[in-house]
C-alpha cells in the first residue's frame, strides 16, 4: 500500500497537491467509518473468544487422540496391551499442554499491546 503511494507521488510530480488532497479525503473517510477500524482490530486480535476457545480445545484433544491411537496401534503390533496405550496417552496429555501453551504464546504475540487508557473489560462473547 505504502510503496504504491510512493511511486504514484514520484511519478506525477505536478499532481502532487491533488494527490495529497485526495489522500486527505481518504484518511478522513477512513476515520469516519468505524467498521473498517473494527475489522482491522479483529484481524489484529486474530480470533473471537469463541474461535480462541475452539482452537485451544482442538489442540489439546487432538494430541491425546493421536497419542492414544498410536499407542493402541503399537500394542496391537507388539501384543503388549495396554502398556503402550497408557504411556502414550500420558505423553499425549503432555503434548496437548505443550500445544496449548504454544497456541497461547502465538496469540499473545499477535495481540497488540493494550492501550492503558482504554483498558475496559471486553464482552465479545455474548
Amino acid at each position: 500500500m505504502t510503496d504504491f503511494k510512493h511511486t504514484k507521488q514520484s511519478n506525477s510530480g505536478s499532481k502532487r497537491a491533488e494527490t495529497g488532497e485526495l489522500g486527505e479525503k481518504i484518511r478522513q473517510a477512513r476515520s469516519v467509518r468505524p467498521g473498517v477500524a473494527a475489522a482491522h482490530a479483529m484481524r489484529q486480535n486474530e480470533l473471537t473468544g469463541f474461535g480462541r476457545a475452539f482452537r485451544m480445545a482442538s489442540e489439546f484433544v487432538a494430541a491425546i487422540i493421536v497419542a492414544t491411537a498410536l499407542g493402541f496401534a503399537l500394542d496391537a503390533v507388539f501384543g503388549t496391551q495396554p502398556i503402550f496405550m497408557i504411556v502414550l496417552m500420558l505423553l499425549g496429555f503432555a503434548a496437548g499442554v505443550l500445544n496449548i501453551t504454544r497456541a497461547a504464546a502465538e496469540m499473545n504475540a499477535a495481540a497488540p499491546k493494550p492501550d492503558p487508557d482504554k483498558l475496559v473489560p471486553i464482552d465479545d462473547d455474548d
Partner: protein, 258 residues
Amino acid sequence: MAPTDPISQFNIYTLFSFGTVGADENGANGFELVFTNSALFMVASVVLISSYLILSTRGRGLVPSRVQLVSEIMYEFIANMVRTSAGNEGMAFFPLVFSLFAFIFVANMLGMYPYFFAVTSQIIITAALALLVMGVVIFYGVWKHGFGFLKLFVPSGIPLPIMFIVVPIEVLSFLSRPLSLSLRLFGNILAGHIVLKVFAGFVVSLSALGALGMVGSVLPFVMAVALTGLKLLVSALQAYVFAILTSIYLNDAIHPGH
C-alpha cells in the same frame, strides 16, 4: 418442503456416475467413480474463485476498479500473513496458502446458502487439506534440510536426560497437528450448520401448532437470524485460521531449529 431434521443436509448422493473401474468378470468388487453433490460444490467453489480472480484482474488498472480491489485486498491480506509468519522465503508457498484460503472461504460461504451443501462439513475434505499441508511441510523440510529437519523435535539448550521425555512429546505434538487442523474446520462448520438447522426447524414445527405456536416461533427465528450472522463470521474466520496455521507450520519447515 425440506426435511427439518438437522442431519439430512449432510447427505451425499450421486449426481451421475463415471462408470466402474477394476470390476471382475461378474461386474462385482469394482470401484465406482461417481460425481456427488459434494463434488459439485467443490467444483463450484474452484470455478467461482478462479473465474472471479481471473476476470477481476483482467483490466489491471493502476487505479483499481471495485472488483479488482477486492482481489488485491485478498492478495495483500494473505501475502502479509505469509510474510509475517513464515518470512520472505515463505512467499514460495504463497500460491498454496492463497489457494487453501480461497477454497475454504468460498466453500464455507457457498455452504451458507439455503439448500447448498457445505463441503467443509465433511471431515474427509478437511483431513485431505490438512494432510496436504503436513505433506508439504514434511517433504519440503526433509528436501531442504535433510536430517536437519529433525531439529524441529529437539528444542535447543536442554540437557540430554530431559531429551528422552521432551522429544516424544514434541513428536506427538507435531503428529497431532493435522488432526487439530482438520477437526477445527470440520467441527466449526458442522456444528454451526446443525445448530442453525435445529433452530430453523423449531420455527417450522412451532408454527404448525397454531396461533400460540406462531407467536412462540419468533424466539427461535430471532436465534436463527443471529446464528446466521455468527456463522458467516465463523466461516470467514475458519478459512483465515486454516491459512495462518498453514503458514506457521510452513515456517517450521523453512526454519526447523527452535
